[in-house]
């Protein structure tokens, strides 16, 4: 998730958005992150806007902050539904601008070990995996282990939940959370962090 541009908004204006999303400051941060994920998925659902989904999601939130700053009465409306409407307008504006010719997307290839980028990715993945707790490490590695493709479903839905004492649904949510953490860690690592 990209950070808010500190040059565009004051801290007060940003705090106003958070308060609008949730009165509890701790929950407001979570609500903000969820809103950004929703907006990103929304823009990714269209092939033409998918490549700029992150930036468009940011633009939707920027406009919401702007509207709230102009007219505090906006805060009486339901935040998520309001921001969704903004996103729809932003999508229309995006499409009305001339777009580069849409090139076919090359099918992805398995990352060859000779490529420097792939080696960097693997190095960062290894480092980030090393920072996981042992339980998270066992879980995420166990989740992606299978002997044959047909085993994966049974392994994930029956055997792995039994091993960790969780339901399949809870296990999947936990895996998604670990993945989000890994993605953030890898991104920072690739930037030299």
């Amino acid at each position: 998730m990209s950070l808010r541009n500190p040059r565009l908004w004051t801290d007060t204006q940003f705090q106003a958005l958070l308060a609008w999303l949730h009165p509890d400051p701790d929950q407001a941060g979570i609500a903000y992150a969820k809103l950004h994920r929703r907006l990103r998925l929304f823009f990714e659902s269209w092939r033409d806007s998918a490549r700029h989904a992150e930036e468009l999601a940011d633009a939707a939130i920027d406009r919401a902050i702007s509207k709230l700053a102009e007219d505090p009465a906006v805060a009486t409306r339901e935040a998520t539904a309001y921001v969704r409407t903004i996103a729809t307008y932003i999508l229309k504006e995006y499409r009305s601008q001339p777009q580069p010719v849409s090139l076919a997307i090359d099918p992805p290839e398995v990352c060859a070990s000779a490529e420097n980028r792939c080696l960097e990715d693997q190095r960062c993945l290894n480092r980030c995996l090393g920072r996981l707790s042992s339980e998270d490490y066992e879980l995420i590695i166990g989740y992606y282990a299978q002997e044959k493709p047909g085993d994966a479903v049974r392994w994930r839905k029956e055997l792995l939940p039994r091993k960790f004492g969780k339901s399949y649904g809870a296990l999947r949510v936990h895996v998604l959370r670990i993945r989000r953490g890994l993605e953030e860690c890898i991104e920072n690592c690739l930037k030299g962090g």
């Binding site: 993945l125 290894n126 590695i141 992606y144």
Partner: protein
């Protein structure tokens, strides 16, 4: 209201760009209105990526995945992450080599017998074993002797491992690993000064470090924990998921990224028993890459 299966199909269609406008709106109503649905959609993304990499998508879905789903740079990065995790998982969970022995009993029941005959045969076998177990109960005193022989064998195994360790220390070899390999080593208990601590030269491509800990004390059934501290005494790794291999050894696996170059002290202890009673053994080693 859509059933769970209909919602799941709708979700997949949404992600693959295979829904009409009305269906799209319905999905987005859920997306912006329901926290649980947000998680469901993200889980469906992860599931599609898995299926694509395992080559289990239908041709139509595969086309939708490549032409629509992967238009997003974030999803491409997510897929690369999954590829990396699958690659690591494949090396950690390599299947055991060697031919599998066929059990004569399993082989018998693999003959095509009708189920009722199998049930009769199974009952006869069960009765026979019940009688046999009564006879075996009389021989308990003999088992005690067998247990002490087993203990002696375990001690012999430890002595053998120690001899191998000594030989390795005399003739240390750089360990060269194929990419993605597991790096395994054996530690004997005892704390030594830095220069005398066991040196482990780990290849940069190693993903997992597997440590077998020999113990002087017998390991009773129960849960054990391993703590690794750095030179400055700070705890850098802890696990209580330990494989209890036998009476006098235990094995753990840790990601290689957890150990930077330097000296470490590893403590093996029994869970829920405070130190010093709970501490089984301490081990020292050094890591170099």
């Amino acid at each position: 209201m859509a059933s769970p299966k209909e919602l799941k199909d709708l979700t997949r269609g949404y992600l693959l760009g295979m829904v009409n406008t009305q269906e799209k709106d319905a999905v987005e109503d859920h997306l912006f209105g329901d926290d649980a649905f947000l998680v469901l959609l993200e889980a469906a993304e992860e599931e599609l990526i898995n299926e694509y990499l395992l080559n289990t998508l239908s041709p139509t879905e595969r086309a939708g995945f490549e032409e629509h789903f992967l238009a997003s740079p974030r999803r491409r990065r997510s897929m690369e992450l999954t590829q990396g995790l699958m690659s690591i998982a494949a090396t950690v969970r390599r299947p055991a080599p060697g031919p599998q022995r066929r059990n004569w009993l399993a082989a018998t029941f693999q003959l095509r017998q009708p189920p009722d005959i199998i049930a009769v045969i199974a009952s006869i076998v069960a009765i026979a074993f019940a009688g046999l177990s009564g006879w075996l109960a009389i021989r308990l005193s003999g088992e005690r002797k067998a247990a002490s022989i087993e203990q002696q064998q375990a001690k012999n195994q430890i002595e053998q491992l120690k001899r191998e360790k000594t030989a390795a220390l005399r003739h240390p070899e750089p360990h060269s690993l194929a990419p993605g390999s597991i790096f395994s080593f054996v530690l004997s208990p005892g704390l030594m000064r830095d220069n005398n601590a066991r040196l482990l030269t780990i290849g940069k491509a190693a993903r997992t470090i597997q440590i077998t800990l020999l113990t002087d004390r017998m390991l009773r059934p129960g849960r054990y924990a391993v703590t690794i501290r750095g030179d400055n005494g700070d705890e850098i790794w802890r696990s209580d998921l330990l494989t209890h291999a036998s009476a006098n050894q235990a094995t753990i696996s840790i990601p290689s990224g957890a150990l930077e170059q330097g000296g470490y002290i590893l403590t093996l202890s029994k869970v829920n028993e405070p130190a010093p009673a709970g501490v089984i053994d301490d081990y020292s080693f050094r890591v170099a890459y």
